[in-house]
Amino acid sequence: MANTKVAIIAANGTLFDAYKVFNVATAAAASDAEVGIFFTFEGLNLIHKEAHKNLPLPEGKEHFQEGFKQTNVPSIEELVGIAQELGIKLIGCQMTMDLMNLEKDAFINGIEVGGAATFIEYAKDANITLTF
């Protein structure tokens, strides 16, 4: 998969969304694919310095908490670290950051910031495009 490019849009901010995004992204990167994630609207929570450490379960799904503990899934913090180590490109959506009144320093280190055109430019020759 060395010549495979994966483009992901992360637009939601619960713990479930975070696992969907980071599991697929790190699995792809570990398989030698080039991976980029565009975080927009509530998806920005997944890379927010504080918020990503304590993401909420979707409403009414709080009982899954126990299952997460029992199956020993890695924490989102850990997965974000792995994602960065594997060279996954993390792009924050400028427009959403503006409307939420957030600056780049509210997010984890090493992210890029760009608009929709930045994502389109990245995704134009992607082999796999996913939206979560």
Partner: protein
């Protein structure tokens, strides 16, 4: 089944995608051609490790389960194995080898793959000496018999056949292409 690996990775208790993420990291430390044992308890890891090997070009050898632990064996890809160049001229194809095995004459089949590869399936009666150990173990080979050297794709066996010929063995044949295309009977280590 007792299988030798150059490296062991403990990924027990870890959920997806950690077993492959850890495997990816660990395999970079291996030399090409070396074998890693990945221990995992994630039931999805068998399908994932196999798929991961397909994506990355590493060789998935097989999986065994012991005491609820899955042990996956992988061999790191090497560059020279993708080269097509063969130098040992005396070659034999798989069909010819099969009719020889079924024939009257007693022959030697020397399998020069790593012992973990051998363990997951080899031609019945074959002897295993990994290419890297060949030079120290020439004495184990019967000079009087016809020696048929085999590996996975015909490249390591080509090198082995050259080494044997240099050493003075006279009747050495390289079996091509190798175990990847072998459809005859095989056995596994116990």
């Amino acid at each position: 089944m007792n299988i030798t690996a150059n490296e062991t990775l403990d990924a027990k208790g870890l959920a997806c995608p950690m077993p492959i993420v850890k495997t990816k990291k660990a395999i970079t430390k291996l030399q090409p051609g070396q074998v890693i044992e990945v221990q995992a308890t994630d039931k999805g890891s068998t399908a994932d490790i196999r798929a991961w090997a397909g994506s990355t070009g590493h060789q998935y050898l097989g999986t065994i389960e012991e005491d609820n632990v899955l042990k996956h064996y992988l061999r790191k890809a090497t560059d020279e194995e993708t080269k097509e160049e063969t130098k040992h001229e005396d070659v034999i194809n798989l069909e010819e080898l099969r009719s020889k095995i079924n024939g009257e004459e007693s022959i030697t089949i020397l399998d020069v793959r790593e012992s973990a590869e051998f363990a997951f399936g080899h031609i019945t009666g074959a002897v295993n000496i990994p290419l890297g150990e060949l030079e120290e173990r020439f004495s184990e080979i019967d000079e009087d018999k016809e020696i048929h050297v085999i590996c996975r794709t015909g490249n390591r066996s080509d090198l082995a056949a050259q080494k044997l010929t240099e050493k003075g063995f006279e009747n050495v044949k390289n079996v091509i292409p190798g175990m990847t295309k072998w459809e005859g009977p095989t056995e596994k280590n116990n």
